[in-house]
């Protein structure tokens, strides 16, 4: 009876793996645990920006035009149930194994979630704000700019937070299947599978979790907390 370190690596193996991954690996372009997270974070920045822009537009459109929502809402909800890696084959056919392919998977894996969260949030805006705005002379675009946009901030903050976690997960999946330089955390995970070192594999998974949780705790949760405090929501 021995502990199978390749089935479930001991904490000591993981700690050793983390140290090893901070050394220079010529085949992986330098120190893997510095290079890979940086590459992933840069990708995430670009992809999440696109995803957010598309998601906000679609969410607003589905809220504003109910016919559109009735026609496309169930379709988008269905697409949201599709695991994001299922977009990889289409990404390869449409864009090839390159940066655009990865971004495509990230965007497709997150922007429906953003749009739907935003639409649902916008629907909870009390109609009295609109009536009060009209009565106080906010008509046309002023109503959007000075009433509906600020009233939607809690919904925006919620959809931002949810969208980020979708985007991060999609990116990791895409990087595992689309090996593109500079290699991100997903690609590193796949490379270490080939090396066969379970401790190093788990160390990279741990890094993914830490970055995902860190961004949520340090960026997205505080935004949501501040908005909620302003609005006096719980």
């Amino acid at each position: 009876m021995g502990w199978s370190d390749w089935v479930c690596p001991m904490p000591s193996s993981i700690a050793r793996a983390l140290r090893e991954l901070l050394e220079v690996w010529p085949l992986l372009d330098g120190r893997p645990l510095l290079v890979a997270p940086l590459a992933s974070i840069v990708r995430l920045g670009a992809g999440f920006a696109i995803s957010l822009a598309l998601g906000v537009l679609l969410g607003l459109a589905m809220w504003r035009w109910q016919e559109l929502d009735r026609m496309l809402g169930p379709f988008f909800l269905g697409l949201q149930t599709l695991p994001s890696v299922c977009w990889v084959p289409l990404a390869i056919i449409a864009f090839g194994i390159n940066e655009r392919g990865i971004l495509f998977v990230l965007v497709m894996g997150s922007f429906f979630a953003i749009a739907i969260a935003l639409r649902d949030g916008l629907r909870t805006i009390p109609p009295i704000y609109q009536r009060a705005g009209l009565m106080l002379g906010a008509s046309g675009w002023k109503l959007y700019r000075h009433v509906l946009l600020p009233a939607s901030l809690p919904a925006m903050a919620g959809s931002l937070r949810q969208g980020f976690s979708f985007a991060w997960r999609s990116l990791m999946g895409a990087e595992m299947l689309l090996l593109v330089r500079p290699h991100g955390l997903g690609s590193l995970l796949d490379a270490l599978r080939n090396v066969g070192n379970a401790g190093q594999v788990v160390a990279v998974m741990l890094t993914m979790v830490i970055i995902g949780m860190g961004a949520d705790r340090l960026v997205f949760a505080p935004i949501q907390r501040r908005v909620s405090a302003r609005f006096g929501l719980s």
């Binding site: 009390p126 009536r131 106080l136 000075h146």
Partner: protein, 298 residues
Amino acid sequence: MQDDARVQVVSSATPAVRPRGRLVLERVSVRFDGARVPVLHDISLTIEPGQFVVVVGPSGCGKTTLLNLVAGMIRPDSGSITLDGVPVRAPGPDRAVVFQDHGLFPWLNVSQNISFAMRMAGATRQQRDRRVAEMLRMVHLVGSAQKLVHELSGGMKQRVAIARALVMDPAVLLMDEPFAALDAQTRTLMHGQVQELWMQTRKTILFVTHSVGEAVRLADRIIVLHAHPGRIRRQITVDLPHPRDFDSPQITELVRLVRSEIEDEVNRVNNEALGEDNWQPAPADHLADHTGDMGGGI
């Protein structure tokens, strides 16, 4: 000859500056989609500048609809509504509304809520600051200028809502059951403040409530609405000086009068509703038919 004389009398009585806030409803009817009976039917009403008019009636009589019409939130199916001769078409700051649920913007603080309409109208920061300070004094909220909406009590929220409505110096102030959600003591305080504000500003006020006490305490003129369809059942002029002593015999007498009008109305509506209800208890022999059904052969 006679006509000339009358014209002269009228023109000599007209002051140099015409007061604002003359509200005229002519033969106004509203029917909601698919409803058999109109919500409001053939309402004609003239409210003179500076009048404090309170509309009372049983729930569902269309009092809030009447207010929404004047606010421009809904359009009548027929008839016309004019304010100082100008037809009412859309909501606007000349007919400011104080809502029952205040409708203050939670993303703005008290000052910003009050100055919102001025910002929409393009007033400068200096103009806004000066006017907001004035309004804060008027509603006794100088110390709460920077507070957020959720930090205010119910009564404070309604005072901010009133200040927000008055900031653009509207011709008419519309109040839709503004104190219904407040506790009795706060409500009494608010009645005093509204009377004080009205005596200072002499705005035309159209105030909707289901509270007879509130109506008698505040109004120059009480309009009792008739339900199904909504029509004016009775108008009562209250000729008592402000501020009013709530325990005076005249007030008690008026409350009794208005309350009996409304009770008649409620009874009439209830009887109508019962008349439409054709449910009859089933005769006893029908019940007996089923005795053999359950296991008669066992």
